[in-house]
Symmetry: C2
Subunit: 434 residues, 2 copies
Amino acid sequence: MYPRTFTYGLFARENKQGYLKICVNIGGKTVLIVKKFGGSSLANKERVFNVANRILEDYIAGHEVIVVLSAQGDTTDELLDKAKEINPNPSRREMDMLLATGEQQSVSLMAMAIESLGYPAISLNAYQVPMVTTSTYGNARLKKIDSDRIRTELDRKNIVIVTGFQGINRYEDITTLGRGGSDTTAVALAAALDADKCEIFTDVNGVYTADPRVVKNARKLDEITYDEMLELASLGAKVLHNRSVELAKKYGVELVVRSSLTREEGTIVKEECRMEKMLVSGVASDKDVARIAVIGIKDEPGKAFMLFSLLAKKGINVDIILQSVGREGSKDISFTLPTSDLKEAVSIIEGNLDRISGSKVEVDEDVAKVSLVGAGMASNAGVASTMFEALYDADINIKMISTSEIKISVLVDEHDVEAAMNAIHEQFKLAASK
Amino acid sequence: MYPRTFTYGLFARENKQGYLKICVNIGGKTVLIVKKFGGSSLANKERVFNVANRILEDYIAGHEVIVVLSAQGDTTDELLDKAKEINPNPSRREMDMLLATGEQQSVSLMAMAIESLGYPAISLNAYQVPMVTTSTYGNARLKKIDSDRIRTELDRKNIVIVTGFQGINRYEDITTLGRGGSDTTAVALAAALDADKCEIFTDVNGVYTADPRVVKNARKLDEITYDEMLELASLGAKVLHNRSVELAKKYGVELVVRSSLTREEGTIVKEECRMEKMLVSGVASDKDVARIAVIGIKDEPGKAFMLFSLLAKKGINVDIILQSVGREGSKDISFTLPTSDLKEAVSIIEGNLDRISGSKVEVDEDVAKVSLVGAGMASNAGVASTMFEALYDADINIKMISTSEIKISVLVDEHDVEAAMNAIHEQFKLAASK
């Protein structure tokens, strides 16, 4: 077993030029930290060295550091363009082979940057770790991470820099993890190596009570639970990808979301928050929503099931569902879904209108979802009515409602989104108290 | 055992769109061909598709094709610049990690190009093959190529596209093979998979009797032996790197050097040439040569040995050596070496002048080597005197002479090089007979 605790107090660390650096190991405890940086944090030489210095702070303080990097700046988009020029519809296997080079360039350049500052670093790609995934090119899931190689490099006092976003499948071919892939890599490494924390560096200071571009006095949260973060992420808060939060929750990895550009503390994402459960923690919105209504469905058992199973077979997820009370032997079913799935869903339903026994399909694209999230909501009555009151006062019409243990979502007209968010944010006094 | 012979005559091959292509398999024999293309042949979309079509010609004719690619166009130089910006003196391991991405991009893009033309292709990098090398980053030697994966992909009727220039060492870290690395990869794969031939595509039509930029009526050779090619390559003909020719000779791989831009047949490099041994096959020159003379060495045993062992210890190779006849108890030793080693060699000798017992060191940088190569030379007297006669007629002074079984080299003034090459070329009637 590797000792997690160094000698108390001062210790010496030798850099490549042979200078001894005297480091203060506060409290004498060595912790293992995974730090993930996105592509915009690595876009040019200055930013690469900014990140290198952030990494070295922890290393010099006596900690073990694993770094996960995305591809630099616009590299991934440039590679996608290059591929499209050659083949507008390339195989996903070859696409992953191509895209994976972006992260490999990032990690080797970062190792060179850290070496040039006089400290030892080593870059590793997915097969060198190895990080094994499912075979689904372009959207693979991590299955197994071997910690031996990374552990060996940490024991050699190397800063270990790992490619995010990529893996290898059982054929030893390169896969990529899809959207949010590098966050997922970071959390998975933190879980596999039993890291003390996993810091996700981004271009915002943390998780806010609402999008600061929409709600001017939105407040940064010090802490948030995994569940709240999951609701916020899936509702379009765009700070962390859901998969990484789910993984963090599953393995109890303490996540920190913070900025690579400032020294601010960021937001800690964990199972239980230290302070009293917040009633509500944030307001989120999602404009990528459309509503479909199927009118005049026969009021017989099995019709709703048939409708949604047809959509499920095509991998279309529906969100809020509303069914009108049956009247005169027929009913209407309306539901929301991502705008990107709208066209396919309509064509499926219209092609099966007889089987579903509906009379027509209506579509509304100018809608958006506004949601209030809070772990304390479940044990507090009246949250929903307070929210509805705020919307009523702001003269905003609610089209559909959906609730969960820690979330209330409403569907409103798209042009009402900003007014709705501000009204709810104010009603629940979420603003920074300045 | 995989059958090397298909059904005789016509056969059908299905492309990805499901069309059957009727292919004529002339003679009914399936051969395995390794084709290597350099970076300039891949510099843009048009060239990528030009190469894709060259590859498909053989595949459609019913053959098995393995393709080895370098990085596209200036990719390697761009990556070197990127690294230099971050760290002027990066570790070789990280440099190899960075540079290897260039070839990985080439091979995946080529697979996409071939797929877009409707044929099956798969790209493989060094660890997927795997190609195992020594651990020397930046200048590794291939040790072992596993043929299983490539064989499997060929059996699946895939065109297999492999990254040139790279390997993995026993730590599973990425290495690169140094100068001429992709040629070496191609020959090594041809040897490992027992290929019928290995075609090296370049920007010239083949091997010439002399550099066509210097000798206007230089003639392209149809055939040349490995030994002749080795002498020409090491003498600066720059068509094939020596390592790849040595490897081809060792494993009896039939090499073909030809242009990726024209349909010309190219030059075959093999053990024995079909036709009667040519008396001489080519003239080469090398301006990267300097001469050192150590004057007044005591005429005692062991002094020459001491001089050259000092240089050998520092890895400095000397080429032509000339020792004057001892007179009045002292002698002079002069020798040639690559210009890049001159400075170090002089400082070594001057630092040890007492031990060598020399009185002073003289240096001449304005010299060049002109060489005549031919496998038939050994059994034909008079080649040397004919060569010297040509130089005498052209009023060119010979400063040193060196001969081997199949080569005669002379050292001349650098400004005489072109005149010397033309004079020799004409004397031996090497010109194209047009």
